[in-house]
Each structure stands twice: as structure tokens, then as C-alpha cells.
């Protein structure tokens, strides 16, 4: 909407934006919207999120007497590595050379009454931790590693830290994968990244997407488009899938306006000149006569008005008011939903980049002009993420909607459906450069004399079938 390009990334949190809070170094991860009334509960204390507004992402906060207080710069640098990999190192340390048994923390001379008294006297959490260390009769006998572990444990209890993180495709995918992987079909961040690369997503792309992973792919594509091109989220049947996860991204209104939704039947019927027999055209009677514009209520409901919920680490606690987002086998969603964005707009409202202005909601039907353009030129990319579906026939319906030479990437949590799809594409000769692949990601602990891969790993992040759609009519024989 502006003629000058907006700054690509806002590096400070603003009123109404979505933020990701990392509490106690990954112990708890949750999304929040910075509305005036937004709060986070830490231990038994409810803290306003207002102190976060205007602070740079990456800032660390501690729990002061009156709520969240920014930490001094020095605190931030020492906050991770050792603690992050403590468990690994600990195991090894203790295994290897522990001639004396590890003592536990019974030798603490500070009573809980003492601690309460310190708190009443206004001691900070860090001061309490220091006092606990000073009053531990065994601390000095511990190995350096055990000392670190002890200190960290006390810090988490008495001096919890809150890290303000910027939601982005990376952090959003990592958070969902860690907390509710089934919600995003077990798509790991490296797999998502590969989908975006393999499908050649970039500015001015016209991207056709089937997103049955809650909107993660739609959001990531919109982030890459940066307010140019289009992401057309298509769906089977008459009601679009939820793409609520896009609300975790801080998409600007420009970017949101580039997200459109259309039923697959409309796209296929628009493409009646298709050169490939379509299962959908043949089999799904009635759909093709539906209007080309999706009912507005449905689209809006699925995108903007349904209150999304944050992801947290509280386990096995079912939030009964969000049944469709629930998963029996998973840790449940947070008790702190992201506030309805309308409330944030009541406040300042000065920010044109917010994704909530009435005129720029995501998921509108594409304009007839765009439909016509795509009919003539095809989409320039395709990503399919339907981890609960058979994809062989779905892809056969989708490929004719692409321009020739357009790359595509199909995600699945099982290999077999992709293998069948690949085989059928090989036979039909609709695509070349077919590759069935699985990324394998490994994280390392890099510490002096203690370098090794992490002892626990995510052993699975999904499979990808990629290729390039081609013109398959053998009718252009060139003579000399």
C-alpha cells in the first residue's frame, strides 16, 4: 500500500503484535498477542506483558517485584550453551569418573522461611540464588558441572527468565514441532525450508498451496512473498481448512492481502482446458457448478475470527473450549490464548502493518482477474502438505494447474503415499526431476572437550516428493 517498501523486519515488539515467549530457557514456549491487557502467568505470579512493548526481540526479562523487568545486557550473553546442553554433559561427566557418589541437596542451611523473609525484604531472585549457594554445605564439593546444574535449577525456581522472541517461520515451526507436532503433521523446520526452496518460493511467485497443517505452510510462503505475488490456498470439499497458524506470524496487511482461498473444484473447473484427465473432474459430481467465490463467512471464520490458541508446554491438560485444536496424544495448547486481534486494534491502531484491518483479511476468494490470469498462465509453484491424505490423485488434479516448468514439492508423513505418487508421475510423464527425499537433521553440543551430537534427537521430520511439471504432449518434433 505504501510506495516505499516497509522495513522487512521490525526488530522491536509493538502494541498488538504476536510474540513468542521462551520461559526458563525452553522449559515453556508460548505465543502471546501484546494487547494492553495481556498477561503471562509465571509460577503463581500473573505479569502484564506491557513491559515488552518497544523492547527489541531477543531481550531477556526477569521477574521483578512489579512484574517483568528487562535484564541487564550482561545477563543475556551467559544465558545458554552450558545450560542448554547441561543434561548431556552431566550424564557423561557423572558416568565417566565419579569415584564419589553425587550428593543431593539436603545440605542446605537456608530454610524456606529464610527465603520468604528475603523475598519480603525485596531481595531479587538472583540474590536468593546466591544466598542458597552460599548456604549449601556441599556446593563446593561438586564438580563444576554439578555446580552449574544446581545453580540453574535454583535460578529457574527463584529467578525465572523470560526471553522475548520474534515469531517467524523458523521459530513458529520449531515451537509447534516441539509442542504439538501432530498439529503440523510432524513437519520439521528443515523440511519446511526444503519445501520452500524446492518449490522456488520468492517474490512475485504465484503459489498454489494445499495446507492441512494448520496454516504453517501458507504463513511461511506469505512471509517469503513479502507482500508480492499470491499464495492461493486451495481445499477439498466446500469448507476451507483452518489456517489459523498464520496469525502467529506478524504478517503485514500487504502480506495478508496476498493470501487467497479457493476450493479446488473452482480451480479445476476454471482449468477446463486441462490436458490431463482429472479424477476430480470425473469423480466429484456437483462441485464444479459451485460459485467461483468461496462463501465469505466460511473463509473469514477459519482465518480471522476463530480465536487461535497459543502453544505451551503444559501437558495432558485439555482445553475444552478448543476441541478442534486438540489432540489426545499430544501435549495440549496453552491456557493463554492469543488475544483476539480486534482488541489490540482498539488501542493505538496506528500501525498499518497489523494483519487485522478489515480490508486486508487473509483468505478472501481470488479476484476474477487473478483466476483468469492463473487459468492462462498457471501457478508458478505448488506445495502440498496433506499428511492425512492419499496424494496420488490429488497431485494428478493439481499439476495441470501449474505452468510448465513450475517446480512442486509434496510433503507427507508417510513414505508410501509419496512413492505411489512418484510412480504414477513417472508413468504419466507429467513431471521430471522427480526426487523422493527425507532431510536428516542433527544438532551438536560444541563445548571444550565435550563435543558430540545431542544424545536425544528428533529422528523424523517428514518426507518430500519434489519435481518439475512439464509439457508432456509429444507433438513438437523439430526437423532439421
Amino acid at each position: 500500500m505504501d510506495s516505499t517498501p516497509p522495513p522487512p523486519i521490525r526488530r522491536e515488539a509493538w502494541e498488538g503484535c504476536s510474540v513468542l515467549l521462551d520461559i526458563n530457557d525452553g522449559d515453556r514456549l508460548a505465543f502471546f498477542r501484546l494487547t494492553p491487557g495481556a498477561t503471562v502467568k509465571i509460577g503463581n505470579k500473573t505479569c502484564s506483558l506491557q513491559p515488552l512493548v518497544g523492547r527489541p526481540f531477543g531481550s531477556l526479562f526477569r521477574l521483578g517485584a512489579d512484574g517483568l523487568v528487562p535484564c541487564a545486557a550482561g545477563d543475556a550473553t551467559s544465558r545458554d550453551h552450558n545450560t542448554r546442553d547441561g543434561a548431556d554433559g552431566q550424564t557423561q561427566d557423572e558416568t565417566r569418573d565419579n569415584r564419589s557418589l553425587v550428593d543431593n541437596n539436603t545440605a542446605q542451611n537456608l530454610s524456606s522461611d529464610d527465603i520468604e523473609a528475603m523475598k519480603r525484604d525485596g531481595a531479587t531472585g538472583d540474590e536468593i540464588v546466591e544466598a542458597l549457594i552460599a548456604n549449601s554445605s556441599t556446593f563446593g564439593n561438586k564438580t563444576v558441572f554439578s555446580q552449574e546444574k544446581y545453580k540453574l535449577k535454583k535460578q529457574k525456581k527463584y529467578a525465572p527468565k523470560v526471553l522475548l522472541r520474534r515469531p517467524s517461520a523458523r521459530s513458529i515451526c520449531e515451537t509447534y514441532f516441539k509442542k504439538t507436532p501432530a498439529r503440523i503433521g510432524f513437519m520439521r523446520v528443515d523440511t519446511l525450508s526444503l519445501l520452500l526452496s524446492m518449490a522456488n518460493i520468492g517474490a512475485y511467485s504465484d503459489v498454489l498451496v494445499v495446507d492441512m497443517v494448520g496454516g504453517l505452510v501458507v504463513g511461511a510462503v506469505a512471509e517469503r512473498l513479502g507482500g508480492t505475488g499470491y499464495v492461493c490456498s486451495t481445499y477439498l470439499g466446500s469448507a476451507p481448512c483452518s489456517i489459523d497458524i498464520i496469525r502467529m506470524f506478524n504478517l503485514s496487511s500487504d502480506m495478508v492481502s496476498r493470501i487467497v482461498q479457493a476450493p479446488l473444484s473452482d480451480l479445476c473447473s476454471m482449468h477446463s482446458s486441462g490436458n490431463t484427465p482429472s479424477l476430480l473432474n470425473g469423480g466429484a459430481e456437483g462441485e464444479m457448478v459451485e460459485p467461483a467465490v468461496v462463501p465469505d463467512e466460511d473463509a473469514q471464520a477459519s482465518v480471522a475470527q476463530q480465536v487461535d490458541t497459543a502453544v505451551s508446554d503444559e501437558k495432558a491438560q485439555l482445553s475444552t473450549d478448543q476441541p478442534t485444536d486438540m489432540e489426545v496424544s499430544e501435549p495440549s495448547l496453552d491456557e493463554h490464548p492469543v488475544q483476539d486481534e480486534n482488541s489490540s486494534l482498539d488501542g493505538k491502531g496506528s500501525d498499518g502493518n497489523l494483519n487485522a484491518s478489515k480490508s486486508s483479511k487473509a483468505g478472501k476468494a481470488p479476484s476474477p482477474e487473478k483466476m483468469k490470469y492463473w487459468k492462462e498462465h498457471g501457478f508458478s509453484s505448488l506445495i502440498v502438505a496433506a499428511p492425512g491424505h492419499e496424494v496420488e490423485h490429488l497431485v494428478a488434479d493439481l499439476l495441470p494447474l501449474l505452468s510448465y516448468s513450475a517446480p512442486f514439492a509434496i510433503y507427507h508423513q508417510y513414505l508410501d503415499p509419496l512413492a505411489k505418487c512418484m510412480h504414477s508421475l513417472q508413468v504419466s510423464k507429467m513431471a521430471i526431476g522427480l526426487q523422493l527425499s527425507e532431510p536428516w537433521l542433527r544438532e551438536y553440543q560444541v563445548l571444550p572437550s565435550r563435543t558430540h551430537p545431542h544424545m536425544q534427537m528428533n529422528a523424523f521430520g517428514g518426507y518430500i516428493l519434489s519435481g518439475i511439471r512439464i509439457h508432456n504432449t509429444d507433438c513438437m518434433i523439430a526437423n532439421k
Binding site: P181, L280, H389, E390, Y414, R442, H452, P453, A459
Partner: protein, 322 residues
Amino acid sequence: MTMVPLDPSSKPTSQRLITEGDTVVVYERHDAMRAVAVRAGGVLQNRFGVFRHDDWIGRPFGSKVFGSCGGGGKAKAKAGGGGFVHLLAPTPELWTLVLSHRTQILYIADISLVVAYLELVPGCLVLESGTGSGSLTTSLARAVAPHGQVHTFDFHQQRAASAREDFEKNGLSSLITVNVRDVQGEGFPEEHCGAADAVFLDLPQPWLAIPSVGSMLKKDGVLCSFSPCIEQVQRACEAMKTSFTDIRTFEILLRTYEVRDVALKSVTSEEACVGPLPQKRRMLTSPGENTGCTQRSSSILVRPCSTAKGHTGYLTFARLCV
């Protein structure tokens, strides 16, 4: 009883009937097992009920036995006591899953690679340090039985004693000698000089023991050193260069898969897209549990398990130069 038969008259355990004094592995679930010594009048009580050892004696290993509800009030036998367990013959693999973890232990993938690369066969003499919890030791003993020997060393007195007890219990005493010794400081004892077919090291500073290993091994004999950190591997390899060859470092992981009877939704279904969470229907359920949604016929699909051991350690193998 013995986990590893030692003479032609002793049958493999699985071909025998359970007798008093046997160790059985009581299998509740794949992740819930324990070793139990069978004695007349003995009782095992767990969440599946109360099991009398007397009911086990005379049954074949591999039997399924049912518990009764009862005994102390603590028994929370949900299904009214009709729970069951399986009684398995102990093997080194099962032992690895039930033993007391006095230290970090080696698991089957590392163990099997070690045994293969050390080229252990019946009759070999193998040295090991440290003994740790005896997980590897048990497999080494099986590999060299019936005439071979495992001499295992640990500097930790108590650990050595506990391991010795375990080996005794599993009938491996004639195959395994447990010694208390600081191999990093003192090396292996001179008596094994030039007699070892293979040596295994699991030490924090393996490079200290490597010169001694060189004098213990027969020519072309194989050394293996296990270390969790790459820095240990680097120093160990450096120390091996003078008298070892074929120095190779490996890492082995076991990826496990889960099998599910899945009903993937079809494209042509009107109801195909009902929300972002088709997960619920993906559990391994009985066919009757399918929802009303139009679905393709279900099929058996496989997926890697989500979490796995990402690292255990590096295994460095080397041969003593001829």
C-alpha cells in the same frame, strides 16, 4: 542356570522348563521388564496382579502367566487381577534392558558392532575396561563361550563387586573374571601379555591405556575404544598411530519404526477436509473404530519413531601391527 550354555549337555535356555533358581525376565510391555530370580514360595506383585513363583516352575520359558488380584492393598490391579505377564529366558539383549544402571551402558547397536569388529568367536580371550554395569561384558561372554575368557577391569571396587554378582547370577562366572584395577594408570596385568585376541576400552582417557593394549594383543588383534566425545577420539587415534593400523572410527544408531493401520483420506471425498487435525484416526485402532468419514481402505504404513537416541558414542577400531 546359565544364560550361555557351556557344555553339550546344557540346552539353550529357551528349550528348557523353568526351574527354581532360574532367572526369568518378566515381560510386561516392551518398555517394562525386570529380571526375577525364581524361588519356591516367591511372589511377584506388580500393576497386573500377584504372581506366585510356584505357578511358574515347570512351565516352558515364553509362557504367559496370569496374576490374581490380591495381596496387599497397594496392588492396583485395574482389571480385577486378570492381568498377565510373559516369562522370558534371559539373553544378553534382554539383560541390557533390565540390568541396574550403575553407569551409562552400551546398547545393542554398539554392542553388536563391537562384537563383530573385534572378530570374537568361541575360544577368544578378550580384555575389557571398564566393566561398568556389565552390559557389554555379558555379550562378550556369549561370543567367546564355551572355551574363551573375558577379563574385565574396573577401578571402582563397588561396581566391580556388583558386576561380579550379576555375572554369578547369570551363570557366567566361568567365562568372566572381574578385577579391580585402574587400567588408565597401571595398564592391563602382565599375565595377559600377547595373549589377547581383542581389547575393549570404555575409559575417559583411553590414550593412557593404549600402550598397554599394544603389549596385550596378539598380532593383528583388534582394539576398540568407545568414547562419547570427539576430543577423546582424536587423542585416542593419535595414541594408536605408533603401533596400530586400520584405525577406523564409527558411529552407529538404531532407527526404529512404528507400524500403523492407517486410513488415509481420499481426494474425492466431500468430507475430506474437516479440519487441520486428521491425526486422531491415525492410531493403530481396530477396524471398527473408523469414523463415518469417507475413506480409502486402510493400509499398513510405517513411520520412523519421533524421538531416538541421537548419539551414544564413537567406536574406534584398530589392529595391532604385524
